[in-house]
Symmetry: C2
Subunit: 281 residues, 2 copies
């Protein structure tokens, strides 16, 4: 497995692979990899001849008050995980390789990016769409793998690929959880011991909501209230949002009569965590 920092090195490697008729899978990440990322790389490795992982903490998807500077980084550990999971190439560029000083082009979206995380993170998805476009143009993969934990990101990337006719197949992969149900996230490392215990409230509350739907409840407001009340029972938790939306348009759903995404964002102390489940009807 090679680690490269230059766009041209990625391009020439992938072109060489493609000239041999090999299929290329791609896993874009911000690094500090956990078992969630590992599952994406493994799946990419099963479904393709070669796998590229990008490790790049993308500055333009962080708001001014967000955790860009403190976002955890550990290339050595990441490299070991990538190699073990079956990656062939890590693309690990500096900011200067990705963004010229007079960088001025953005990929943006209406609709899907307004609600959920887009509400409290107004420039986030513009940054995500722009960097994912760039990475797709650099790597030119056949397939790209995204975790379902970032459900809105997955829906946004799928829509962008459809709208801009990007010739990449987007593959969503299930959330990987800790034994107590907490969704794996690089940001879990921010949590103190006490906060780590409190963070289980996200999945617990979602499960209460799921049970309610399984018991026949179809009114979104009632289900949202049950989830919110459960989260509020945890002193260290502060709700950012609890929403029930159409799984592909991400528009709010009042009565559940189609497949929905039930998604939450909750601050545990200063750490903002997200979780969700999809209910197929």
């Amino acid at each position: 497995m090679r680690v490269v920092e230059r766009i041209n090195d990625v391009r020439s490697t992938v072109k060489e692979w493609k000239s041999q008729g090999l299929k290329v899978g791609f896993v874009p990440t911000m690094g500090y990899l956990h078992e969630g990322h590992e599952s994406l790389i493994k799946k990419a490795s099963e479904e393709n001849n070669k796998v590229v992982v990008s490790i790049f903490v993308n500055p333009i998807q962080f708001g001014p008050k967000e955790d860009l500077a403190s976002y955890p980084r550990d290339l050595k550990r990441d490299s070991e995980i990538c190699e073990r999971a079956g990656a062939n190439l890590i693309f690990h560029p500096e900011n200067e390789e990705m963004y010229f000083n007079d960088f001025s082009t953005f990929v943006d979206m209406n609709g899907l990016t307004n609600g959920l995380c887009g509400k409290s993170r107004p420039i986030h998805f513009r940054g995500v769409c722009t960097v994912v476009s760039k990475l797709f143009n650099i790597v030119a993969p056949d397939r790209a793998y995204f975790g379902e934990k970032d459900a809105q990101q997955l829906a946004v990337v799928k829509r962008m690929v459809r709208d801009l006719n990007i010739d990449v197949e987007i593959v969503g992969c299930p959330i990987v959880r800790e034994e107590d149900g907490l969704a794996k996230s690089s940001r879990n490392t921010y949590l103190s011991e006490e906060e780590r215990a409190a963070a289980t409230i996200l999945n617990k509350s979602l499960m209460l909501g799921k049970e309610e739907i399984q018991n026949g409840q179809r009114n979104s407001a009632s289900i949202i209230k049950i989830i919110e009340d459960s989260i509020k029972s945890e002193k260290l938790a502060r709700i950012d949002y609890v929403e029930i939306v159409d799984s592909s348009s991400l528009e709010k759903v009042e009565e559940i009569n189609k497949s929905v995404l039930v998604a939450i964002a909750v601050f545990i102390g200063k750490t903002r965590l997200i979780d969700n489940f999809t209910y197929e009807l």
Copy 2:
């Protein structure tokens, strides 16, 4: 030469060509082709093994009061010109093939698109960037050809390709003119006989400005005044803008001490025409 309406037909044809190691040139147009387009297709044909021309009047680059409905269309004539000039494939999609009802992704730009044509056409370059991105993703050419008459468009497309790491070489081609100096444009067909005669004022006025620079004048305001006064001498002409800008950043230049673009937009009756020259220093 084939004419296809489906994205998948373009993709499969180009993939077949590329699998044979052939280079693909691309000329995106809105149709109603003139000798300017023809020169692009000829150049593409000289420099590549295969040439794709797209003919698509892109609705999202027209403002609500602009000429989308009346924009001239003639596929039969366009096909003959393409064939004669050496094209191998015309991509001529319906709007529905290009834009879903819930289309919601846009490629946009800061800076370069604010001045010149961007001032009076605020959504124009967002529409251009978006459709050019889509067409590049559909055709996946090695090189794409744009006329220098739309100097701002050429600068914007070059910047977009650089910023988004699009793996396409952009080739600019010189303005083609009528014998009396009027730059070829599909919109020239809008002009009455009297307006057609008046339209020569664009190039005439630019030439006066050029002469002034060649004579050593370096103050942009003085040169702009000479060009404006000349245009105003024509009763049917109304100035949209006369500007002198840096050829790549498109920022206004007060004193000419580097290569500049001198660009104008002028209404002749209801028809908006553009023209320009680049002065290399």
